[in-house]
């Protein structure tokens, strides 16, 4: 066999491989830790936003039926329960948008791939700032609506 003919020239094989396999499948871009959880959260928020979008196109289409029909549907969006739903929608969109920008930076910029973990921290911080900025406004509007204040 030709493989063995050169065997005498090759150095003896080392007893142990120098490079140890990683103990856990973690710390790579998409498996384990921030890389994976950012991806999981991106999927969950994406699915939630998609199904809201389907409903939102249908409810907006009622403007074509009659003004009173549309106002009836949109009044449902002003109830406390739906008001909280809108808050969670904005929270989901906020994450999906910020992490989406992170994905673009990872894919198109070498800095992004090297510092994806740092950028995930930045995404979470900006997300918290966004939620802190929007939540008081939305909760204020929910309370005013529930108390029956005039809106316009």
């Amino acid at each position: 066999m030709p493989e063995n003919s050169a065997g005498t020239l090759a150095p003896p094989p080392a007893a142990k491989p120098r490079i140890k396999p990683p103990r856990r499948l973690a710390g790579t871009l998409y498996r384990g830790k921030e890389g994976m959880w950012s991806w999981v959260l991106h999927r969950i928020t994406g699915i939630a936003i998609y199904f809201f979008l389907l409903v939102h196109i249908l409810d907006t289409s009622i403007v074509r039926v009659s003004p009173q029909a549309y106002n009836g549907v949109i009044d449902e969006y002003k109830t406390p329960l739906m008001g909280l739903g809108e808050l969670f929608l904005v929270i989901a969109i906020g994450y999906h948008a910020l992490n989406g920008l992170r994905i673009i930076l990872i894919d198109f910029w070498s800095f992004g791939a090297r510092h994806q973990r740092l950028m995930f921290v930045v995404v979470i911080l900006l997300w918290i700032v966004l939620i802190a900025g929007f939540a008081p406004t939305q909760i204020h509007n929910i309370i005013l609506e529930a108390q029956g204040h005039a809106s316009a």
């Binding site: 999927r43 994406g46 699915i47 936003i49 998609y50 979008l53 389907l54 196109i57 249908l58 907006t60 289409s61 403007v63 074509r64 009659s66 003004p67 009173q68 549309y70 106002n71 949109i74 969006y77 002003k78 008001g83 809108e86 904005v90 969109i93 948008a97 989406g100 920008l101 994905i103 673009i104 894919d107 198109f108 929007f134 406004t137 939305q138 509007n141 005013l144 609506e145 204040h149 809106s151 316009a152």
Partner: protein, 150 residues
Amino acid sequence: MTTETIPAPRSSYTPPRKRRVNWEKWGWLYMRISGLFLVVLIFGHLFVNLVAGNGVRAIDFAFVAGKWADPFWVVWDTLMLWLALIHGANGMRTIVNDYAHKPVIRKTLLIAILVSTAALILLGTLVIYTFDPCPSNAIAGTLPSFCKAG
């Protein structure tokens, strides 16, 4: 002894392949480009409809009619409708491809996504461009103020 035919070394061999459009590549690129636009379009939409003024409390038929009286918001909402729905549908397609292992279920879900996307884009576009801000079937007090002039 058998004689084996070994290909000549260093000869480049490329299998005959038809040049096809790489749809997955364009889908991948679409997610990123539309995503950039959607960040601006959707945050703008959320700010005007949920934050500015009285937020969600201000939305009614007259509010929508007021916005769509301006071509700026007509273009804005059309772009948002098309870009967001195709972005979402392509994302759902990826998720179905990842988790639906049975070919029949996968095909059914993909067709459902395609049909619902086409139907909603058609519906949404028709609603925006056939919108009547002063319809005759309106109950008093529901129309925008500019209808009284006509």
